[in-house]
């Protein structure tokens, strides 16, 4: 007989034998329960939106960052012409892009509904991811509910989940990313690496801080795989799968910055404060305020961090080490931002929210690592979270570096509008003038591009008018044409100037005496804004005018 060739087929099973993340070696994941996830998400969304509507519309406590982003999102759909570049390079792009669906219809903007939804939606996602993580931890349903409620009612969380804070966007995706790694470590299923990688990419363009977590996670994944006995090919392949989405989005964003802003790292440098009037800190000061931030905002971290290190190093639990490093990063980030000069609101209390979230995730991992003690640790976690509610609430009233925290507590306690109230940082809460001016423009201006304004100062008016196409702003055709139009508004078919009454806008800088000189007619004004009519014979800043 002639055919005797030795079989050389490598079966799938043989091929996968040495692979840590092979199908046969994977632990079973918790069964999918989409309805539970949908329920947690839906309930959180409804509750935060409801609270948010009361806080924003009735108490007038609104995160100003969101107004600018929302205005840009409105321009994405309704500017003339609609343009993607309205997103700009000043903020992480997804902070605007991801809320842009809320502005497809203008109606929601008029009634302030979309502002709380912008943060409540992502807070809902965050709660959903936390719930899934709790299921993977093996926490029984009643304890899950208690934990979610205790965490969800933390006043800091409520503030940022209801007032449109863009932080909720990146935080939701950060939790999704860490949650995917959590699932990966439990199941060894490489799918979660991919999901984690994609989530980090989205989170990275929603908040640049996430990129630091990503770097930690990448190192952690590689180290864990090596620790589990994976060979170089598996580590490399996994790292490619994990890192490529984040690297792609960073490269893409850098490319856009180079092409359109002329500076590939403009997205980093633009985060630097524009004002020099920022408090300087000593090393000791930074240490002190970091401690206070943790103490008032996320006291749970004080317990969780050493416990994670103990479990991680003492019991050979590499994922606990990774989580402890992430928690440490969240604690150190505010101080690092100050040291690197990347923030204009140093040591702000909002920085405590990521610390709190990372502490909760760390505590969940501790519970899972405790085996049969998981329920007991979860119970303790719930108690700690409940206890921290009044503690943090009080901290929000006293902590020095903050935004709307104190005003929020005042509003909650009194139930009265905070219009005109002053924040601890000295900022006055004013929403009515923007609403009022937006309404006036909506009712009295028809011509597209006829209101010249510096959108970086008047974004709230533009937003509340619901008609960004009426404005000739710096985004429409970039700064050059806008300055030309400012100099010769008639040539640019401008009928009105919209200025701030305190002169803190680029148009007022061009015409510093405009409001006081009476040269042009102020057709409408309020405490914050004024609209000035531009007559057909107005020479502006052209040579004719100068002469």
């Amino acid at each position: 007989m002639s055919t005797t060739v030795q079989p050389a087929i490598i079966t799938n099973a043989a091929r996968l034998a040495g692979i840590v993340q092979a199908v046969g070696r994977r632990s079973a994941d918790v069964p999918r329960r989409w309805w539970e996830s949908a329920l947690v998400f839906g309930l959180s969304l409804v509750v935060y939106t409801w609270i948010g509507f009361r806080v924003v519309a009735q108490l007038h406590i609104v995160n100003y960052d969101i107004l600018d982003r929302m205005n840009r999102a409105l321009m994405v759909w309704h500017n003339n012409p609609a343009k993607m570049s309205a997103i700009g390079f000043d903020y992480p792009p997804l902070q605007t892009l991801l809320i842009s669906p809320l502005t497809i219809f203008r109606l929601g903007v008029d009634f302030l509904v979309v502002i709380p939804v912008a943060s409540a939606f992502f807070a809902g996602l965050l709660m959903m991811y936390l719930n899934t993580m709790m299921r993977r931890t093996g926490i029984p349903v009643f304890l899950r509910i208690a934990l979610l409620v205790a965490f969800g009612l933390n006043p800091l969380v409520v503030l940022y989940a209801t007032t449109g804070s863009p932080m909720m966007i990146w935080l939701a995706f950060l939790v999704a990313s860490v949650g995917a790694l959590y699932a990966w470590y439990i199941t060894a299923d490489v799918r979660f690496i991919m999901i984690g990688g994609l989530a980090f990419a989205v989170a990275g363009l929603s908040g640049y801080t996430t990129l630091l977590y990503f770097l930690l996670a990448a190192v952690g994944v590689g180290a864990i795989l090596a620790h589990l006995g994976a060979d170089g090919t598996e580590v490399e392949g996994t790292m490619v799968g994990f890192a490529s989405p984040a690297i792609y989005v960073v490269a893409l964003w850098t490319g856009f910055n180079l092409l359109l802003a002329g500076n590939p790292i403009y997205w980093i440098t633009s985060a630097a404060p524009t004002t020099t009037d920022i408090e300087q800190f000593t090393a000791l000061g930074l240490l002190r305020w970091t401690g206070e931030l943790v103490l008032f905002g996320a006291p749970l971290a004080i317990l969780v961090l050493p416990a994670l290190l103990f479990v991680g190093l003492g019991r050979n639990n590499p994922f606990a080490v990774l989580l402890s490093l992430m928690l440490t990063l969240s604690i150190l980030t505010p101080a690092m931002s100050v040291l690197l000069g990347l923030t204009d609101s140093p040591m702000a209390m909002e920085n405590a929210v990521p610390i709190l979230v990372m502490s909760v995730i760390g505590a969940l991992w501790l519970a899972r690592s405790a085996g049969e003690g998981a329920a007991a640790i979860s119970g303790l976690l719930a108690l700690a979270l409940v206890a921290s509610i009044p503690w943090t609430f009080q901290g929000m009233r006293t902590y020095k570096y903050q935004n709307l925290e104190k005003v929020f507590t005042q509003g909650i306690l009194s139930g009265e509008s905070q219009e005109g109230a002053t924040t601890k940082g000295g900022q006055t809460i004013t929403l009515d003038p923007a609403l009022d001016m937006g309404q006036w423009i909506q009712e009295n201006v028809d011509a597209t591009g006829s209101v010249l304004t510096d959108n970086s100062a008047t974004y709230a008016v533009m937003l509340f008018s619901g008609e960004p196409e009426l404005f000739f702003d710096r985004i429409d055709k970039s700064d050059g044409p806008w300055l030309q139009a400012a100099k010769n508004p008639v040539k640019a078919d401008v009928d009105y100037f919209l200025l701030t009454t305190d002169g803190d806008d680029l148009l007022s800088e061009q015409y510093p005496e405009l409001l006081s000189s009476g040269e042009l007619t102020v057709v409408y004004s309020n405490a914050e804004y004024a609209v000035v009519a531009v007559p057909a014979d107005f020479a502006g800043l052209t040579e004719a005018s100068a002469s």
């Binding site: 060739v5 799938n12 993340q21 799918r191 991919m194 090919t233 490619v240």
Partner: protein
């Protein structure tokens, strides 16, 4: 374990079988070797044996019992009664007395004459114990003896005359007296008429019932002559080859012309296509910009919808494991006596160089060779391959099937031909260079047993064994990983019409025949067949078993193969969209969309170069007219596809490889856009060929992987 023979023992089988040892040996071993473990005495397992002196029996038992064994002589009746107690007999599966006698005679004849060794006999006996197949067939399949020796032995045992059919020239009138279906089914053929008695070549003596059936069919007495199975098979093909060939070519065309690709475009399609082009031309004259914007919008919408559909499928597959799985335990628990005959169709053309490897890989399948029916389908003009096969003197589970030379000379026609001579309950196609997972056939059998009756096809996964050869093969492996690990399992799970892969699709043979099998005029007959199965209410399931193929490692060869695939996709789309309303009503809106979006991917490949050129041109020149082509929403759609969609597809390529555990080629997935460029090149080639040479089969050259050199 140690073993010894003891002619008697104080403890006898008649005192009963201890339950803890009763099933130490499988039923097949007990019945074949007439042995029965029945007690443990002094830590030794007592095994009743009718032939306690037989060394083979002792060795077989000792190898299977994890304790010292003692064979104790008992009568056959005592042992059979005990076996029947432990394993209640199923009449159809029991060896008859006649069969047993034949087996023993055969074993004695072959061993005494020194034609086989004790080891060969032992191995064959064990296989017989598992499968119940005739000992002689097993020995031939294992290449321990030749078919001629077996025929001689059977002739001696049954006292039946032999006939040599090699180089025999049949009298067609005589040969065709017996209707082809009977000849094919029983592998018999009239070879001569001797004074009113028809001399019938048979592969094995016919039972009285079968003999009666044959005599009734030919209306005359019949005398059986034993023949070599290989020679007889070739002779049947020679006698009925023309009929097979005609049927292989024209069955579908004549019985279901509306779904045959022998016509590329139907008249309404021609009118519609030309009408659309004229309309576009007119619009271009009057409103060129608006027309271009309209076309760009249409293209963008197609892009978006196809991409979203594919993305949704892959996401679904990423979340779960959607293929039908069979565990090693389930496979081990399969009773081989119940395994059906499995036909393997292997179309070959100018591939003599890889026949040895093919035979090796087919023999490595974990399936009783005696139940394999491997059809090596060769074209008549491919003398080199035919001679190579013949020179290898293959055992009779390999059949060299020579397809008569006729047009169209395509793989589907060869497969149709092979299907007509197939004997298996199930059949599967493998390409010559394929290396299926050894347990794939058993997994397919398990899958067929597990799924509903409407599942007519089970598709195995495909991937490549030479993925590390070069960048092209790595890209190919990335693509296949995504397609077979993510896309197809998701389509299978959602019961969408699946464009079948070229090989490793396992069919229920009878259903396949009923449907007219493959369309010989379609150059992606596999994809087309998947859709036709779906149209007729049948479904395709995926199994978690992989066949490794040779990835094309040379660009020109790859382009040829891929252009054929794309042309076939266009053909398939055109065939099934001849009557879109009818198709919609027949398969429902969900599957109608799925079909169009799946086939639509071939059209997207045509659009790619246009959009890439526009983007590049815009980046370089910032030309205003290009910007004008993408107003508002169209711009957002196009941007989303450019920046998000492209990356997502790159990533899904990577995800497929990760899901499969092929970590070494994840890097190359990041360069997929270059591969897409090649895909578009091939798509355009295929598209142009659709008009210039629609039925031309771009042959792929195999055996280019480095391992062979």
């Amino acid at each position: 374990m140690t073993a010894s023979i003891q002619r008697s023992s104080s403890r006898r089988l008649t005192e009963g079988v201890e339950s803890r040892v009763a099933t130490l040996l499988p039923e097949g071993i007990c019945r074949t070797f007439r042995v029965m473990p029945y007690a443990v005495v002094d830590d030794q397992v007592l095994v009743a044996a009718s032939d306690a002196d037989d060394e083979i029996t002792l060795q077989v038992v000792a190898e299977r019992v994890d304790a010292p064994v003692v064979l104790v002589r008992h009568t056959a009746n005592e042992i059979v009664a005990a076996i029947d107690d432990v394993y209640p007999p199923i009449e159809d599966e029991l060896e008859t007395v006649e069969e047993r006698r034949t087996r023993i005679q055969m074993a004695q004849m072959l061993t005494r004459s020194g034609l086989i060794t004790n080891e060969q006999l032992q191995s064959a006996m064990i296989q017989h114990a598992r499968s119940g197949d005739p000992l002689g067939d097993i020995l031939v399949a294992d290449e321990a003896i030749s078919e001629d020796i077996l025929v001689a032995a059977l002739s001696e045992i049954h006292q039946m005359q032999r006939v040599g059919l090699r180089d025999f020239t049949p009298d067609m009138e005589v040969a065709r007296r017996l209707p082809e279906p009977i000849a094919q089914r029983h592998q018999v053929l009239p070879v001569a008429d001797a004074d009113g008695t028809l001399l019938l070549a048979v592969q094995r003596p016919l039972s009285p019932e079968l003999l009666e059936e044959v005599e009734e069919a030919v209306q005359q007495p019949v005398r059986q002559l034993l023949a070599n199975r290989i020679d007889l098979d070739e002779l049947i093909q020679k006698v009925h080859g023309e009929y097979y060939s005609e049927l292989a070519t024209s069955f579908l065309m004549e019985n279901a012309p509306e779904i045959s690709a022998h016509r590329v475009f139907s008249t309404p399609q021609k009118v519609g296509g030309i009408g659309f082009l004229v309309l576009v031309a007119i619009c271009m004259v009057f409103e060129p910009m608006k027309t271009l914007i309209g076309l760009v919008t249409l293209a963008s919408v197609i892009y978006l919808v196809v991409s979203v559909y594919k993305f949704r499928l892959t996401l679904r597959a990423l979340g779960t494991h959607l293929e039908i799985e069979a565990t090693p335990e389930e496979i081990a628990a399969l009773d081989e006596r119940t395994l059906p005959i499995y036909t393997i169709l292997v179309p070959l053309y100018k591939e003599g160089n890889i026949v040895k490897r093919l035979v090796r890989d087919m023999n490595a399948l974990d399936y009783p060779r005696t139940r394999l029916d491997v059809k090596l389908l060769c074209e008549e003009d491919d003398v080199e391959t035919i001679e190579m096969i013949k020179s290898m003197d293959l055992p009779p589970h390999f059949h060299c099937v020579v397809v008569p030379d006729s047009l169209p000379k395509t793989k589907p026609k060869a497969c149709n031909y092979g299907l007509m001579v197939a004997r298996g309950k199930y059949c599967v196609i493998f390409d010559a260079e394929d290396r299926p997972d050894p347990d794939q056939l058993k997994k397919a059998v398990i899958a067929f047993n597990r799924v509903g009756d409407n599942v007519a096809c089970v598709q195995g996964k495909l991937n490549h064994f030479n993925q590390d050869q070069n960048l092209l093969t790595a890209w190919f492996a990335n693509e296949y990983s995504m397609h077979f690990e993510l896309v197809l399992p998701a389509m299978g799970a959602s019961e969408s019409p699946i464009p079948l892969g070229g090989t490793s699709n396992h069919f229920v043979t009878s259903i396949l025949r009923e449907l007219g099998a493959w369309d010989p005029f379609n150059v992606t007959e596999d994809a087309d067949l998947g859709i036709r199965l779906h149209r007729e209410g049948y479904r395709t399931a995926m199994i978690d078993s992989t066949t490794l193929e040779e990835a094309n490692s040379q660009v020109p060869n790859w382009i040829r193969q891929r252009s054929r695939w794309n042309k076939g996709y266009y053909q398939t789309w055109l065939v099934h969209m001849r009557n879109p309303i009818g198709l919609l009503l027949k398969i429902g809106p969900k599957d109608f969309m799925s079909f169009n979006l799946t086939m639509g991917s071939a059209y997207v490949l045509l659009m790619n170069p246009i959009f890439w050129s526009l983007t590049t041109l815009y980046v370089i020149t910032q030309a205003g007219f290009i910007q004008a082509l993408f107003p508002g929403l169209v711009f957002y759609m196009a941007s989303a596809m450019l920046f998000v969609g492209n990356f997502v597809f790159i990533y899904l390529n990577l995800a497929g490889s990760l899901q499969r555990g092929e970590f070494g080629i994840t890097r190359t997935a990041l360069l997929s856009p270059l591969y897409w460029g090649l895909m578009s090149w091939a798509a355009w080639k295929g598209f142009i060929q659709l008009f210039t040479n629609p039925f031309y089969w771009e042959k792929t050259e195999h055996g280019l992987d480095e391992e062979e050199h």
